[in-house]
């Protein structure tokens, strides 16, 4: 591999390697750039746009844009935070989200991000789409009402599980999560141990018989805000502690 270089993110100089994305470089140095459609271990696609940053002034998705030497990245500006907030609000009004009784509450990345960005209630009017629930599988429930079309399940199933259980149909606002069967998830090769089942950032794909096991107060985002593990690691690094 060719030589490493540095970039700056919000004024902080950090190392990066050729081919590394802005998001990955930032994360390695303990800078959290919010994201929903990307997770470690799968190919980034830039669908949710929540990780939008300015790189040398240009607006790009941090999860797909490769870092280049001396690149100047802005992430936490008023402008970018405002865009992120709007994007998250769009995802809320696009689906049918009821945090108060959703079993994903407290570990939902959409909800976690809304709290982190200070969203109390979306300013847009809800679209209230009609979407299908698929409870056919003995161990997995698929509730499309909560789907944010991030595609993490699709990519994980295809690339990590080697199965292609999920896909998308329709176009534009009518785009929907689909399964690799005529109708039911039960007729696909989906298994509760698939990595794809755990890849969902929201409550659209859930394992059955696990709801509400963690008491309120103990759920991941009750303990610390989304993104905190990335940032905590940075503090350790800054204080001279171990980097991982």
């Amino acid at each position: 591999m060719s030589d490493r270089f540095t970039i700056t993110v919000d004024g902080r100089e950090i190392p990066a390697a050729p081919g590394q994305t802005i998001l990955a470089a930032a994360q390695a140095s303990g800078i959290y750039i919010p994201r929903l459609c990307h997770m470690d271990g799968i190919e980034p696609v830039g669908a949710c746009r929540v990780c939008t940053v300015r790189a040398n002034g240009r607006v790009v998705a941090a999860c797909t844009q490769p870092a280049t030497a001396s690149m100047v990245v802005q992430s936490q500006t008023d402008e970018l935070v405002s865009w992120r907030r709007q994007l998250v609000e769009m995802l809320f009004v696009e689906g049918n989200h009821f945090c108060m009784f959703c079993e994903k509450s407290g570990s939902c990345e959409l909800q976690g991000l809304a709290y982190r960005l200070g969203i109390a209630a979306p300013r847009y009017e809800s679209i209230w789409p009609r979407r299908e629930v698929d409870a056919s599988h003995p161990d997995i429930i698929l509730d499309r009402n909560r789907c944010i079309l991030c595609g993490r399940c699709e990519r994980t199933s295809r690339d990590l599980d080697g199965k292609h259980v999920f896909g998308f149909v329709g176009r534009g606002i009518h785009k929907r999560l689909a399964v690799n069967a005529r109708a039911r998830l039960a007729d696909t090769g989906a298994d509760v141990t698939d990595l794809a089942i755990g890849a969902c950032p929201v409550g659209a794909i859930l394992r059955k018989n696990r709801a509400y096991r963690t008491p309120v107060g103990d759920r991941p985002f009750d303990r610390e805000p989304i993104g905190a593990p990335v940032e905590t690691r940075a503090e350790l690094t800054i204080n001279g502690g171990p980097a991982s």
């Binding site: 746009r49 929540v50 998308f168 534009g172 606002i173």
Partner: protein
Amino acid sequence: MASEDINRVVGEIGLRHGRERWRLMDIVRDVQERLGAVGPEAVDAIAGWLGIARVEVEGVVGFYSFLSSGQRGRVVIRLCDDVIDRMAGYDAVRAAFEGALGVKVGETTPDGEFTLERTACIGMCDQAPAALVNDVVVTNLSSDKARVIVRMLRDQKDPSKLVHRFGDGNNSHPLVRSMVENNLRKAGPIVFSGQTRGEAIRKALAISPAEVIRAIKTSRLRGRGGAGFPTGMKWEFARAAAGDRKFVICNADEGEPGTFKDRVLLTELPDRVFAGLTIAAYAVGAAEGIVYLRAEYAYLRRFLEQVLEKRRADGLLGRSVCGKPGFDFDIRIQMGAGAYICGEETALINSCEGLRGEPRNRPPFPAQRGYLGCPTVVNNVETLACVTRILEAGPATFCERGTHQSSGTKLLSISGDCTLPGVYEVDMGITLREVLELCGGEDAAAVQVGGPSREMVGPAEFHRTIDYDDLATGGAVLVFGPDRNIVEIVSAFMEFFVHESCGFCTPCRVGTVLLKEKLDRVIAGRGEPKDLEDMLELAETIKQTSRCGLGQASPNPVLMTLRSFRPVYDALVKPDPHGYRRGFDLQASLREAERVAGRGSQQHQEGVP
């Protein structure tokens, strides 16, 4: 149809196209045509044939407007509902079709004979209202004609029988036989210059590929689709890219509402377009070319296939083109299936590979990794016609026209409130006022230059010029007279973007819907001054954060008109005299509450006449 029959049909079609994954589009198109739908059994059969997941097939079928999982009628009538067609009487034509067929738009007659649909611009704005009856184009419609068409279709069952009088030029060619008119109003010295078949290719093959690229660079030719990327530079990147296998693609998917100049080029000068593609192939080192033809222009397909066949027979395609050893090149036609987004080059490449027409991330750029992962050049139809002229007459002839930054001529597709709608070849740098004088649109109150994606210009700015420095355009010029309602035009444009969003990224998928809702509320008189500020903010977010050019351009109708036609909006959002929130519809909210409660309120009932 029984499952075994569906399997047999899919098997036959599969045999014709082979088992490669990238033939999926051809297979689903043919299945749709034969069976009237790509239903669950067919999806299974196709997935089995290609050895891919059925959800991939379903994803493709659900993406393109011309494909359908539900059964469609034997005859599908697609009414073009773009703004120009609406101005020309779409509503009356639609009502006449609905009346004669006894179904609404989106429905199929109970006997399974007819499906009536709306569709985005079919490239016939200069002869609107227009429609597609299966592949047959019918133009200049009226309610009377609509009723006659339905009667004839019931009697004769054959859409091609609808055409009695052929259009001019090759529209009357035995393989076209269409009523479409070229309406070529002004032929210029570059694209529509006299044609000497084969000359440009021979001149190109006499020099090295690097010299061909130098000639294109000297001409300063830029992409005619509207984005204006220097063509020579694009070729140079692809030439320099590593890889034994390279591709050149002709983008014949003009879908920007109000654009139809490529249709005329393909009808009258296909040889010049194919010559340009051949020269591009020689320059970058490609052996394979694709013409991605929009589904709306399927009526030109057999004609274009024959032109290609003739070129093969004459040694202009095939092994050792024009006797040049080592230069083998051929072209195939890839049909689209109704998706504006596929005009975007990476979405187009995905579509050629048999995938959903969603744009790709860049980098890598197509010149590095495009079709099937190989270095690929995608050029517009008109760009390729320019290439042919540049090689034929030399770069200097091209540069003589236009301006320094925007050399050459530009084809304009002009439609709307003007006396001479049609195609014009004008010098780059022409003012909008001059354009309006040419087409008899001097009374215009507004002109949309470049289609919905670009800019709405008012009379105070008619001195502006059509070139890459000012009004960059793929060529659409939509003329609106003083009686037209600007905000309703904007709403129609937003409807187009909502419909054509691929849905991949959040801002374009959701933001456009929210923006259109706000706009419609303002139009309905339920807006407040703050709504305009909210619209600006939302539009800016969509523009900045969307993943591809379509999304980034989608809020332009609102953004551009809020800037240039602000008084129109201000007049719609006067504050309520009583200080009430105009956006709140009390009656509608009551109705919603009553629906949930299952009964009406006494007071409200009395209020309803």
